[in-house]
């Protein structure tokens, strides 16, 4: 049965001010049913204040075969991490 029913990706915002975060996927016939199902499957323990559902087929993913060229060039650019700065004591928590 679920072979005929489209797959949806579910994003939940845990509270105001935070971004929606991917939490999983589900099957539903359309967007209204997907939102209902997301509410029932992924917010049972008070996880969210807002839900997005996106058809899985609308997502374009990076190619795992390109992982080396995509991600490895950043490995030796440690100066992009803000760890070389002296933080004045007055600043407190950063």
């Amino acid at each position: 049965m679920s072979g005929e029913i489209p797959l949806w990706e579910v994003f939940i915002r845990p509270r105001n001010g935070l971004a929606h975060k991917h939490v999983g996927s589900l099957h539903a016939a359309d967007e209204v049913m997907a939102l209902n199902a997301a509410r029932d499957v992924y917010t049972r323990r008070g996880e969210g204040t807002s839900i997005w559902v996106v058809p899985s087929r609308a997502i374009t993913a990076s190619d795992p075969d390109q992982a080396e060229e995509n991600f490895e060039p950043t490995a030796d650019k440690i100066y992009r991490h803000p760890t070389f700065y002296e933080i004045p004591d007055d600043v407190g928590h950063m």
Partner: protein
């Protein structure tokens, strides 16, 4: 005791329907519904627990919510007949849920103005739950009613089978003498409007019901309730006073 009897009717409606829904747990047609149906069951059972607890306090005989739920026989149950109808197929289940929630939503909405603090508290929580039950079950009624040939036929069969139990929702029952609770009959207009709205989209029609079924408020139930209670009460009766 009018209030206690009326609270008991409400509690029985919620426990019986909650238990019926819980029977789907592990058997629903898809994983998403396997979570959604018990979610709704837990809403109903949560409401039932508060109401049983309140009924026990009103009675003042030292009975607990468990005693009332698990130690009464079928003839002592005061739920309406709709909620005890067997699950049958998914169409029956979502339609039963839709009929009930479409009634309870305006009922709890009105009960938010009750002069009884417990009733107000229950109503404030339940009115939101019922709004979701209407949405969830209603969307299914629409999709099955206006779906494939088979789903439409199953939904029409469910309407035929369950519409004879809807008139009983509006009978006043013990609440007649309990001003803390809203009038059941007064919810008819809101119920009709909700049903008409969803049925129009679902390509369904409410049939004429020449002989509506009734008797639940007097303890006269269908055959199914006894079987359901026997299973539901078996653990408590085998181990009286057990807690977990």
């Amino acid at each position: 005791m009018a209030l206690m009897d009326a609270v008991l009717e409400l509690a029985d409606d919620h426990l019986v329907l909650g238990h019926r829904l819980s029977e789907w747990c592990g058997h629903a047609p898809m994983l998403e519904e396997d979570l959604a149906l018990p979610n709704m069951a837990l809403d109903l059972i949560g409401t039932a627990r508060t109401l049983y607890d309140y009924a026990a306090k009103l009675e003042g005989q030292g009975r607990s919510e468990d005693d009332i739920a698990y130690l009464r026989g079928e003839r002592e149950y005061r739920n309406c007949l709709l909620v005890e109808r067997p699950n049958e197929d998914f169409a029956h289940t979502v339609l039963r849920q839709f009929f009930f929630a479409a009634f309870m939503h305006p009922y709890w909405h009105a009960a938010q103005d009750s002069d009884d603090e417990v009733i107000r508290g229950v109503a404030g929580k339940a009115v939101k739950e019922m709004a979701y039950h209407i949405r969830h079950a209603g969307e299914w009624v629409i999709r099955l009613g206006d779906g494939t040939e088979e789903s439409a036929q199953r939904m029409r069969d469910a309407v035929e089978a369950l519409s004879i139990y809807t008139a009983e929702l509006f009978e006043e029952g013990a609440a007649e003498g309990a001003p803390a609770l809203p009038s059941r009959a007064a919810q008819r207009e809101a119920w009709d409007a909700t049903i008409a709205h969803v049925f129009a989209e679902a390509q369904l029609e409410m049939p004429e019901v020449p002989f509506p079924q009734t008797g639940g408020r007097k303890g006269l139930h269908g055959e199914g309730l006894g079987h359901m209670l026997a299973e539901m009460q078996s653990v408590y009766r085998a181990h009286p006073g057990a807690t977990w």
